[in-house]
């Protein structure tokens, strides 16, 4: 369970979020909003990449400000641009990087890496340089690298914005099949139509918090 209590965020000279109170328990939560509305900041609060200027964020009772590293082990994060997220030169090495804190013996580590690659049909690319993958494959790799650590929550910040329709569908299907709690920030509104709850963020506030249909209606009217 993720709880935001009276959260204000000020970045530099700008108030990005004003007084957000949320309790996130649903398995599928969508976040929509205009560019610059504060939704990316909201997503980054959930794993402590951004800390509240005032108020607190807790994940299963852990404060993101004081126990950030522990929180990040629970909350996986997928970025919009996979190039920023892939930190190792080749595909298998990047997955192994995710596992390094588990201090597995090399055989067990390789076994997990190859199982994860096989599950996402990336096995043939294990030793390929990451920069030779297509955009869709890169995002798939980024997602796999997060999921291999078995987080209990996955936060994704516009993971399909750079993808074509087929890859968007593939990522959406993958997210839909996850057993984890998922918080998805997106501009692809149809991705959250089947979700349990949708938040609409506008000018640093949560202006709608409802079932998908009424929340998305609100957002469409807001953008009209």
């Amino acid at each position: 369970m993720i709880v935001l209590d009276g959260v204000h965020v000020r970045l530099g000279e700008r108030d990005v979020l004003h007084g957000v109170d949320l309790t996130l328990t649903e398995r599928r939560i969508g976040v929509v909003g205009a560019n610059g509305s504060g939704k990316s900041t909201l997503a980054r609060l959930l794993n402590g990449l951004v800390l509240p200027t005032r108020g607190t964020v807790t994940v299963d009772g852990l404060d993101t400000a004081r126990q950030g590293a522990k929180v990040r082990r629970t909350v996986g994060f997928v970025f919009t641009d996979p190039d920023a997220q892939i930190v190792m030169p080749t595909v298998a090495e990047d997955l192994a990087f995710s596992l390094r804190r588990l201090r597995l013996d090399p055989a067990e580590r390789d076994r997990r890496v190859h199982a994860a690659l096989a599950a996402r049909s990336l096995a043939d690319h294990a030793d390929h340089p990451a920069h030779l993958l297509s955009g869709g494959q890169k995002q798939l790799l980024a997602l796999t690298a997060v999921l291999i650590t078995e987080p209990s929550v996955l936060v994704a910040d516009e993971p399909t914005t750079l993808l074509d329709l087929r890859n968007t569908r593939q990522v959406a299907a993958l997210l839909a099949a996850l057993p984890q709690q998922v918080v998805l920030v997106t501009h692809d509104l149809h991705l959250v139509e089947e979700f349990d709850r949708v938040l609409v963020v506008d000018q640093g506030r949560v202006v709608a918090d409802d079932a998908p249909a009424p929340a998305l209606d609100h957002y469409r009217r807001l953008m009209a």
Partner: protein, 199 residues
């Protein structure tokens, strides 16, 4: 050389420990410093060609390793021919090509992670003076990974410049490239944090 060009094959060269390969590379490189005549140079070329064959590296990939030298070596060769004579020029130019080819062969037959692990082991004594070898190995990996990312960024900036008709303006190239690189660095830092580097 440094673009993560590992070629997956099952050969004695691939199976050899990364640390051993680095040590042999070092020894051969020092040994090559004694090469001054075309005959020893020729022997070195034969040996390196043999090693490429042993590692089952195709001619095209092999050429890609020494390709960056195609402008540099002719210049060096010409200067040395004029100053030191033909024999020395052939010997010295061969030495440069062989050195680069050998280094390229190590990266072709060794996974970056194995190289980094070897570097990390070699740096372990530095722990005594407060250096964290794992951090240094990570920085090296990140560098290797960042080369193609920055190359792609430079490509995009050049395209945008051309689209707007200012391809000769140095500032129109440098400013977006530096801003983009800094942005990328920020994003990388965020990703490292999200992926648990601070544990």
């Amino acid at each position: 050389m440094l673009t993560g060009t590992y070629v997956d094959r099952d050969t004695p060269l691939h199976r050899a420990p990364a640390g051993l390969k680095l040590v042999v590379l070092l020894v051969l490189s020092v040994g090559l410093l004694t090469v001054r005549d075309p005959i020893t140079g020729g022997v070195a070329v034969v040996v390196v060609t043999g090693l490429y064959a042993l590692g089952r590296v195709g001619p095209r990939t092999a050429w890609a390793q020494v390709r960056p030298l195609r402008w540099f070596v002719p210049v060096v060769f010409t200067v040395q021919w004029l100053v030191l004579g033909l024999d020395a020029a052939v010997g010295l130019s061969t030495r440069i090509v062989v050195l680069v080819a050998l280094a390229g062969l190590v990266t072709l037959t060794t996974r970056t992670s194995a190289l980094m692990a070897a570097v990390e082991r070699a740096l372990t004594p530095l722990r005594l003076v407060g250096v964290d070898p794992a951090r240094i190995a990570l920085v090296l990996s990140l560098t290797v990974r960042s080369i193609p990312v920055l190359a792609a960024l430079a490509g995009r900036v050049r395209e945008a410049q051309r689209a707007r008709g200012c391809e000769r303006d140095v500032r129109a190239f440098a400013v977006p490239l530096v801003v983009g690189a800094l942005r990328q660095a920020d994003a990388l830092g965020e990703a490292l944090q999200a992926r648990g580097l601070d544990d």
